[in-house]
């Protein structure tokens, strides 16, 4: 299948109400799905924030459920991948204060290359790149806390 054919398929998704197409080639495995995604059931969805205290201005409205937070918040291109936090801790881009970051945006990385440090319980955990590719984006600011599964980098496979 060439790039033109893929683009044709993508165009069909854009133009129709088909929402999902999986495909494997030689074993021929296809999944096509249609329909409004996520229009299911009144689910209490959650954001990790407290109920707002009532404003003193008489701003009175019923508490409504919030939309779900998606991991990473957006869809990546098929050749891009998130590197996510496997532990909870504080994210550091450089081995020490004032030192150069482990990686810069645009830089090529090999599997095993240290991307950052996550400090947990006073231990510095080096986080390595799982793949070969180019650092497209750094998603967390230096010295920010990160939770389990939080996306840290976007790497584009080469």
């Amino acid at each position: 299948m060439n790039i033109k054919e893929i683009k044709e398929l993508m165009q069909m998704l854009v133009e129709t109400d088909i929402t999902e197409l999986n495909l494997e080639s030689d074993g021929t495995k296809i999944v096509i799905k249609k329909g409004v995604p996520g229009v299911v059931q009144p689910v209490v969805t959650v954001t990790p924030t407290a109920s707002p205290a009532p404003a003193a201005t008489g701003n009175v409205a019923p508490p409504a459920p919030n939309p779900p937070q998606e991991k990473g918040g957006r869809t990546l291109a098929s050749n891009q991948e998130y590197v996510c936090a496997e532990i909870v801790g504080t994210f550091y881009r450089a081995p020490g204060p004032g030192e150069a970051p482990f990686v810069q945006v645009g830089e090529m990385v090999e599997p095993g290359k240290t991307l950052c440090i996550i400090e947990a319980m006073k231990v510095m955990n080096e986080i390595e790149s799982p793949l070969r590719g180019k650092v497209v984006e750094v998603l967390v600011d230096d010295a920010e806390p990160v939770e389990y599964g939080q996306p840290l980098f976007i790497i584009e496979k080469i």
Binding site: V60, P63, P65
Partner: protein, 451 residues
């Protein structure tokens, strides 16, 4: 004991009565209008009979259909809840004629207490202070002017047959009096089919304190402490508590004994509430007696441990009260927030409609009395009460803290509600200090007014 009871009501209070009956092992018959066929009281009763279309006058007030249902179903008694037929002496008489026990006082007692002017006269004869005012219904505007001049302005005009704030007008000067009397008469006629109004002194900064009493049919009566119902908007209670943060043990005893004396004077039976106004100096005045279970009865249940609705049924079945006055003990503090389908941002306009998602709070000290559920519809035909949220704590502070966190948990999606308005009350420093009068809500609304 009764074998089967018809519950002549809907909504949370119908559910409340059905729950009490189930716990006593009594079968229940629900009645419902065509608008209520998916209501919880229909689901939870043993039998349910449709008695008319949505309009209350043709269903929940339809005495013929209700009595007919009761006789066909073979019930022993009818519990009227509050509102609808709960204080209608004619309905009580018809029940008596059909050998159905009405769970409440007799028609005769209800009639005496239902006429507010007459009730005040009876109390005055017993030596219980009443607010100075006209001696019975006003016969003319001139009489109103004379009485008002004699007792001094401000005065308040009230419907003789009424309750719940309808047909009420506060008048602060002679110039407003004539029109106020006429408007009140019109409102009274529209609301109760009875234009009679009376006039009395309007107390400033009073507290609305009411005493819950229980009388069995063997002459025994007890009072179960007081409820503070000062938080009212347009004479509609919105947040009640027990005990009152400003009632001392001495005042409680004085109020309780006055309530017992007054009720005993008319031969009262079953549950009733004697309402007083208490002024700044702890002087109290009899206002009226409600001859039914009240919306806010749960706060008394929470601090006494006594199930008032069950006691109503047991008393009606001829049982004796199981305790003497000195055995009634109060424990902790309870609050009730009335959660209404009203939009506080639009002047509390009732906002009926479907509740898309409903989730009630739980955990320690929290009780919810509600007939709402995910997918139910708050009907425009009936009152806007969605649920009563009740919080108990060892102290008033704990009860308030629990109420706040429970209000924050309460999920009612699809219609506006008064949940956040209650938080405004609960966070207010004067409320926290227990320093509030019946003016509190008006003042709060003025404070909250956007510039």
């Amino acid at each position: 004991m009764f074998g089967k009871i018809l519950v002549a009501n809907r909504g949370e209070i119908a559910l409340r009565v059905i729950r009490a009956c189930k716990e006593l092992g009594i079968e229940t018959v629900a009645i419902y209008s065509e608008a209520d066929q998916n209501a919880l009281h229909v689901r939870y009763a043993d039998e349910a009979v449709c008695v008319g279309p949505a309009a209350p006058g043709k269903s929940y007030l339809n005495i013929i259909n209700i009595i007919s249902t009761a006789t066909i179903a073979g019930v022993d008694a009818i519990h009227p809840g509050y509102g609808f037929l709960a204080e209608n002496p004619r309905f009580v008489e018809i029940c008596e004629t059909h050998n159905i026990k009405f769970i409440g006082p007799s028609a005769q007692v209800m009639e005496k207490m239902g006429d507010k002017s007459r009730a005040k006269r009876i109390m005055r004869e017993q030596g219980i202070p009443v607010i100075p005012g006209s001696d019975g219904p006003l016969t003319s505007v001139e009489e109103a002017e004379e009485v008002a001049a004699a007792i001094g302005y401000p005065v308040i005009i009230k419907a003789s047959a009424g309750g719940g704030g309808r047909g009420m007008r506060v008048v602060s000067s002679p110039a407003e009096l004539k029109q106020a009397v006429q408007t009140a008469q019109m409102e009274a006629e529209a609301a109760f089919g009875e234009p009679a109004v009376y006039l009395e002194k309007y107390l400033e900064e009073p507290r609305h304190i009411e005493i819950q009493v229980l009388f069995d049919e063997h002459g025994n009566g007890v009072y179960l402490g007081e409820r503070d119902c000062s938080l009212q908007r347009r004479h509609q209670k919105i947040l009640e508590e027990a005990p009152s943060p400003r009632v001392t043990p001495e005042l409680r005893k004085a109020l309780g004994e006055a309530a017992i004396k007054g009720a005993r004077a008319v031969g009262y039976t079953n549950a009733g509430t004697v309402e007083f106004l208490v002024d700044k100096d702890d002087r109290f005045y009899f206002m009226e007696m409600n001859t039914r279970i009240q919306v806010e009865h749960p706060v008394t249940e929470m601090i006494t441990g006594i199930d008032l609705v069950k006691q109503q049924i047991l008393i009606a079945a001829g049982e004796k009260l199981p305790w003497r006055q000195e055995e009634i003990t109060l424990r902790g503090h309870a609050l009730e927030c009335r959660i209404n389908a009203e939009d506080p941002e639009k002047n509390f306009l009732p906002h009926p409609g479907p509740i898309d998602f409903y989730h009630a709070p739980g955990g320690p000290g929290i009780r919810v009395d509600s007939a709402a559920y995910s997918g139910c519809v708050i009907s425009p035909y009936y009152d806007s009460l969605v649920g009563k949220l009740i919080a108990w704590g060892e102290t008033r502070e704990e009860a308030i803290a629990r109420m706040i966190r429970a209000l924050e948990e309460y999920e009612i999606v699809g219609i506006p509600s008064t949940i956040l308005f209650h938080l405004e009350i609960l966070y207010h420093p004067d409320f926290l200090k227990g320093e509030f009068t019946t003016d509190f809500i008006n003042n709060l609304l003025n404070e909250l007014q956007p510039e």
